[in-house]
Amino acid sequence: MARAAVRGRLSWQIATVEAVADETPRVRTLVLDVPDWAGHRAGQHLDVRLTAEDGYRAERSYSIGSPPGEPVAITVERLDDGEVSPYLTEELRTGDALELRGPIGGYFVWGPEDGGPLLLVAGGSGVVPLMAMLRHRHAAGIDVPARLLYSSRTLEDVIYRAELDALDAEVVYTLTREQPPGWTGYARRVDAELLAEVAWPAEQDPRVFVCGPTPFVETVAGTLVELGYPPQRVKTERFGATGGR
């Protein structure tokens, strides 16, 4: 096939939506059937391309939430002024086609060979690639301690909540905007004191993955380094209002 002519170069291809599932009022998971998929690693993403009738194109990146070996699933947060996410979360139906390329990323990835303990820190929909890591760890029965610190605006905004609560990993929530009655968890933005309480001691040599909006990632990564984490152990992935991821 001509499109496989250059080794390693990804091609745009047409996937089909196999299933959709609402995670929260603003967030939807799309399970995709991708005919020419090389398999992915936990933490990778893919690029989605929409083409308008006049030829205008918009491209965005979305993290893969499903673990290696399972069908590709992306979880998308709707940005009200977005060009792509409203279509993905509101218009796209089972059986529809979607143009994408992937998998992408060789840095923000985790596999059993990387060891642990694992410290995963998520801001909002930054939980998606981290969920792929937790699912991978669970599905493969990997005996590595894992802790997820997940910052969300409200409890209703927590993505994958039921599954997270059932996983054999420690999950620590902080709800920054609104807390339900009787909430006993954290109720503020992630800060140095909170991280010092939740993070593994640096001496345990944890592998750290931080994903969220840019200011969140900068704060968390900077603070972890201040707590003694070697910078090269703190892997980060930032997304912005236009980035999707």
Binding site: G105, Y107, F108, T214, T236, E237, R238, F239, A241
Partner: protein, 82 residues
């Protein structure tokens, strides 16, 4: 404007160089800082994509697509492992 990071250009770099490059190592031509591509500061809303050194802010690479052809400027780099 808020910077993203080099993860965000994994697809673009694959398109231009035909390889997965987010974990590739390199060095800044201005300050000499060493990094992996995923750690770079990336601005996607400039006219084109601008990639800066996370240490000194110097422009390392720019990517502009005009009529399906990529124009790539890498003069800010001292080194990039392809």
């Amino acid at each position: 404007m808020e910077a993203l990071d080099g993860n965000a250009i994994g697809g673009l770099l694959n398109e231009v160089f035909g390889e997965e490059l987010t974990a590739a190592h390199g060095a800044c031509g201005s300050c000499g800082a060493r990094w992996q591509v995923a750690e770079l500061a990336v601005y996607v809303r400039a006219p084109g994509t601008v990639v800066r050194c996370p240490s000194c802010g110097s422009v390392l690479m720019t990517f502009v697509e005009v009529r399906r052809v990529w124009s790539v400027d890498m003069r800010g780099l001292a080194e990039l492992e392809l």
